[in-house]
């Protein structure tokens, strides 16, 4: 029996465009039946975001935007998903920990990718299985909808690691409001799928076996709305809630990079990334 939590390559739509062939690296874009899927493909590292993965994700977002904006576009929604057991385990800072320049590049890359993801002209749905941690949770929260299951772990444990969640903070404030966002980001930690739904982090929490069906139902419902009406609504919401603020996105990346370069974060991240018996760039909080 297929593990419902594993987003397998075979689960992707069969009818794909030529775009997929150009992006089979760490993220791919497939388009089928009016729905585009951007898939993170670094399952061996729980889709943790390193420089290459962020760059590949960005190329997929740009390609999807170009496709949506073409006259013949039939895309009515975009699903953001992660291959394997986890949606996205967060930032993979291991390779850039002691390289302030690349660290800055990476955070700028993420911040600008989130901005581009938000500005996609059709509704976006995050399909969150397993884990969406830190920057991974940021990806889910930037999407217009996010669907998860009770066993998934979501949240922002940045402060537990001496890191500042500056890049994801404005998006969380826009999603759940400033008061609740403040409490969530300062308290750190992670939560299960049901709590994430109750606190507004995701739109719905459904049994793991129903995750794909729920995403498909939502995509189908979105496809029944007027394409122009949805695009206009989304654009207006983005304008009103400050989603187009490039200055705050840029400032956030610099702030986050500065904190990571400091002694407090360096010490705790060095401990986190120290070789472990089972290895792997784990990005979970230490509790």
């Amino acid at each position: 029996m297929r593990d419902p939590l594993r987003f397998a390559a075979s689960a992707r739509p069969k009818r794909s465009t030529t775009l997929e062939r150009t992006m089979t690296e760490r993220a791919s874009l497939t388009i089928a039946d009016g729905c585009a899927t951007i898939l993170l493909r670094r399952a061996e590292a729980r889709n943790a975001l390193d420089c290459d993965t962020i760059a590949a994700l960005r190329r997929c977002i740009d390609a999807a935007a170009a496709e949506c904006n073409s006259k013949r576009s039939a895309i009515r929604s975009i699903v953001l998903a992660g291959e394997g057991k986890c949606f996205c385990a967060g930032m993979d800072l291991k390779g850039v920990l002691h390289d302030a320049v690349r660290m800055g590049d990476m955070l700028r890359g993420l911040s600008s990718a989130l901005l581009a993801l938000r500005q996609l002209p059709v509704p976006t749905i995050a399909r969150v299985q397993g884990a969406a941690i830190g920057g991974g949770c940021g990806l889910a929260v930037v999407c217009d909808f996010a669907i998860t299951h009770p066993e998934a772990k979501l949240g922002y444990p940045e402060v537990d690691l001496g890191v500042c969640p500056a890049v994801v903070a404005p998006w969380l404030v826009r999603r759940i409001g400033a008061g609740p966002a403040r409490a969530m980001l300062l308290a750190g930690g992670t939560m299960g799928g049901e709590e994430a739904a109750a606190r507004g982090l995701v739109t719905r929490c459904v049994p793991a076996a129903d995750l794909d069906a729920e995403v498909a139902t939502l995509a189908a419902r979105l496809a029944t709305g007027g394409a122009n009406a949805l695009a206009c609504t989304k654009r207006m919401l983005n304008e009103l809630d400050g989603s187009l603020d490039e200055k705050i996105a840029a400032e956030a990346a610099e702030l986050s990079a500065r904190v990571i370069a400091g002694p407090e974060a360096q010490a705790s991240l060095t401990r986190l990334y120290a070789p472990k018996p089972q290895g792997g760039p784990a990005a979970h909080p230490p509790r």
Partner: protein, 265 residues
């Protein structure tokens, strides 16, 4: 106020945690000159530049059946100059709490009304017992809650802030939770204290630099810093509230409110 009396503010330091407790239960911790003085002094002592290890977490709690019932209205009736002064001090105090480098957790039981609600809203994380109540029922004394609107707007969002500030309604902890004004509601005071103690412990274990930076960034993002709501807008809000307090309407409403209360007592 003589030195023999119980202090109105109790400050306890334990490692990186500072607990500040409002301790005038007989007057439901009403904000008067002495309480303002002592609360400001507790913050001065904790945050003075010469303090080598400032707290990274502050819990703001209260003794008695109410967290804080608002201004000491009896004093305001006796001395007309006090109300505007209290408004000014409250405006400064709430802006100061929001700007503190430490993460501030409010631990609320009973009423947190008017100035008491303002204090709570300036904190970063709010835990309350189920019996807690929140709101700004100050229109009945001819006063505007404008002084706290900047922080309320940022914390609860535009729609909720408008409802709470204009209606003067007193809402329950559960309602406040659903509006984003409270993060966690506990069955009773015992579980409230336990939950806040656990939260404070976990906050103290986090990187202090990361926490401080994150709080400052959130202040910038949601506009509760000097460049946003707590700059010129807050100054205008305080002045607007003071102007209202100085009107004849406010004076007469306050006096009749106080007379009614006394005759009921």
């Amino acid at each position: 106020m003589t030195t023999n009396e119980q202090p109105l503010i109790i400050s306890q330091r334990a490692g990186r945690l500072l607990t500040i407790t409002l301790n005038d239960p007989r007057r439901r911790n009403a904000l008067g000159t002495a309480l303002f003085d002592q609360l400001e002094r507790a913050l001065d002592l904790a945050t003075a530049p010469e303090v080598s290890d400032p707290p990274s977490v502050i819990v703001l709690g209260a003794t008695g059946s109410a967290f804080c019932a608002g201004f000491d209205l009896e004093a305001c009736v006796q001395d007309a100059a006090l109300l505007p002064t209290f408004v000014d001090r409250l405006g400064r105090l709430t802006a100061r709490i929001r700007a503190l480098p430490a993460v501030v957790v409010a631990r609320v039981q009973g009423a947190a009304l008017a100035g008491g609600c303002a204090l709570v809203m300036s904190c970063d994380i709010v835990h309350a017992s189920a019996d807690a109540t929140f709101g700004y029922p100050v229109h009945r004394i001819g006063v505007s809650p404008a002084v706290n609107v900047p922080v309320l707007l940022a914390t609860a969002g535009l729609g909720a802030a408008r409802r709470i500030a204009l209606s003067g309604e007193i809402i329950t902890a559960r309602q406040a939770e659903s509006l984003g004004m409270v993060q966690s509601v506990h069955a009773d005071e015992r579980t409230l204290h336990a939950a806040v103690a656990a939260l404070a412990e976990s906050l103290c274990a986090k990187g202090p630099h990361a926490l401080r930076t994150t709080k400052a960034w959130l202040n910038q993002v949601d506009g509760t810093d000097a460049a946003g709501f707590l700059g010129a807008a807050a100054t205008r809000a305080v002045q607007a509230t003071i102007d209202v307090c100085r009107t004849a309407e406010s004076r007469s409403m306050l006096e009749s409110f106080w007379q009614q209360r006394r005759s009921r007592a």
